[in-house]
Subunit: 218 residues, 4 copies
DNA sequence: AATGAATGAGAATTCATTCAT
DNA sequence: TATGAATGAATTCTCATTCAT
């Protein structure tokens, strides 16, 4: 059984990646429970039994997907924290763009995360999400403390609430973009242009909000 | 057949409400596909066949739940729009509190909505959500136009983006509140107090944000 | 329970007849097992429970239908047997027309009989069919003996085989009439005309056949 | 998925044949709707899920059975049509025997066909029956035209009516054979002998009838 | 290392019937 | 006498997983 070796710094072969990326699309589209392993096998053009063979179970496939997709933000964050040449607000703005970039470029995964977060908070997946969240929040808190120390940011910043706005707004846009496109008469532009448009709008919008949250005294 | 009379102004009997409210809890906890009708029947202490008997199918039960829970905001909104004694900003602040109130007091239903919005945008449920969203957005747009005409609000307000922040932030808080409670050392207070705390925090936070979005020229 | 009085010379009230005639149409269309009592109740515009109330069970409803429809041929046959003014061949031809008339005018019931005959030969319905068949066969055998005694008919007539041709041909025409209409380019005439056409054709056809069977010495 | 390869010239593996032949017996005995897939699985000694696995659904199992059993007559007919050494009447007599042989040797399937023909004329099964019927009728019509051209057969032969007698008589005998055996005092002979007896009787009977239909002028 | 065949468990739904009123 | 509400049993079908090869 090749299942054992998948831990910590796990690496996946082509077949496994192919399966995970297909599963990602289907999970995003129909939900975890709404997707059968047969659906995944068919769409990924692999043998049905291969999914159990490589991942052990459907549940573990989801966990693998989380470990495969979840490493992204951390790296970006860590590399930035120590940088002395940037102001704390610059860093925060960069961070906002990183979050937007992650959510927008991994829309399928974002949808899955949103769904999984909503349901009951037990199981390995929930733990993975929790860990990810916690780690990110710690780094951001560090960044904010830094800004507070430098006098750039005001005191009494409720980090989780602030993050709820960042993540909540971006995720909400991802899940309601078809509606946004309708309302704002953006049906004629290409999808690529539309994605760019949303990113820009989100970026301006959230930066403006964050500026108020982080600096406005009153 | 008791199925027929469920249209427009639909009224539900005690058994039906009992089933819907049980389903709501379970759907929120385990997702629609993760909940079996047997789960619902068991928890609601009704016969398994009664669910099909009263609602026709699991899908239609969800739809019934939407029609049962979805009428709330509209009424609140409509009654406020015409009020001449309030400033537009007052109305908007009232609206924010209404949204928070709805999302916080119907947390299970909010979770279900979030999940359903994430998956594929077809089917009766999706249509119901779409209609609800559209109706609300139209009323809010009206309110904003009113404020713009009076000079209270600035031009160029992106309503869907603004709503994404309102709804996205509140929903994100609902789904991550256990985490919030941990981080902010609020484990000792009662749940009731905690809920009150969140509401207050959310209210302040979103009102502050909205003030900037709606008035700040820059 | 009003079930008791339904035996022997049973009489049915309007509601019961309404139910039986609706059931007859549906049984013919979708088969006994393919028709639910709910289907019947809906189509007959009666309360669902009324069917059990009046007939005891779905099975007994079918039996009632058989007793309601099955009395027809016997009477016709009996009244003819003793008639001394007709030749045996005349009687046989009249009999053929009676059978055709019965099968053609009660097509739904004929279909049901065909279906029920095909399945396993146990149960009250099977017994009813068997009784009916036996009685008819006895009368016909009497008629044939009469003809043989008079020298009109030849010896060695296999009555069941002969009846198989009479009943089998007519039933086959009933169940494949849509096909017959296609093949013979009779799509433009009215249904009434078409039914008349089939009856006439069947009558000529079977009389010709019977003449050979009954008289040709070979 | 083993479902895909079942098209046109379809071949079935042992398990599939085992299932189909068991289903055939049960469908003949209790009707399609009267037989549950569980019945079939139990009697065929296969896993319940295997039936869906191999055939997709109960309905498709019936269709498979039709495709498995329905190819028989066509081949016999086609190989005979062109034969120049036989008279048209010889061919017709051979045809009669072929039909009798098919119906008598595949009694279960014949019963199923009779039942399915009786109910509503929609769905794949109905289409399969229709196609089969049409094809056979066309070949027989060809044969009759040949006989008419040669002066062997009279004009104005109603083919569907003639076929109704052939098929209707044989099917009626199949479904009422237990009754026939009773009446004609054939209870002491073995089943094998009885079957042979019926075939012979049917053959003589139908050939005699066909001779009249096809040649007798008046 | 990879897979076709198979399966036990459980899914949603329908059904004929019952029963209190 | 008639019926709305209710239900236990059975239905077909799908599912994730296993296992021999």
């Amino acid at each position: 059984m090749p299942l054992i070796f998948k831990h910590a710094g796990m690496e996946y072969n082509d077949k496994q990646i192919q399966i995970m990326e297909t599963a990602e699309i289907l999970f995003a589209e129909k939900g975890f429970n709404g997707t059968s392993v047969r659906d995944i096998a068919d769409k990924a053009n692999v043998n049905l039994a291969m999914i159990s063979y490589y991942f052990g179970s459907k549940e573990k496939l989801l966990e693998a997907l989380f470990s495969y997709r979840g490493e992204y933000i951390k790296l970006k964050l860590e590399s930035m924290i120590g940088n002395k040449e940037l102001s704390s607000m610059d860093k925060m703005n960069t961070l906002i763009d990183h979050y937007i970039d992650k959510i927008m470029s991994q829309q399928c995964f974002s949808r899955i995360m949103v769904r999984e977060q909503v349901v009951n908070h037990t199981g390995t997946t929930a733990e993975l999400i929790f860990e990810m969240k916690k780690r990110n929040q710690e780094l951001i808190t560090k960044l904010i403390h830094e800004g507070q120390k430098k006098g750039e940011f005001r005191k009494n910043i409720d980090v989780p609430l602030m993050m709820a706005t960042l993540v909540g707004t971006a995720n909400n846009m991802v899940t309601t973009q078809h509606y946004y496109r309708n309302i704002n008469h953006l049906l004629s532009i290409t999808d690529e242009e539309f994605q760019k448009h949303i990113r820009k709008k989100l970026s301006q919008h959230l930066k403006k909000i964050f500026k108020v949250i982080l600096t406005n005294e009153e």
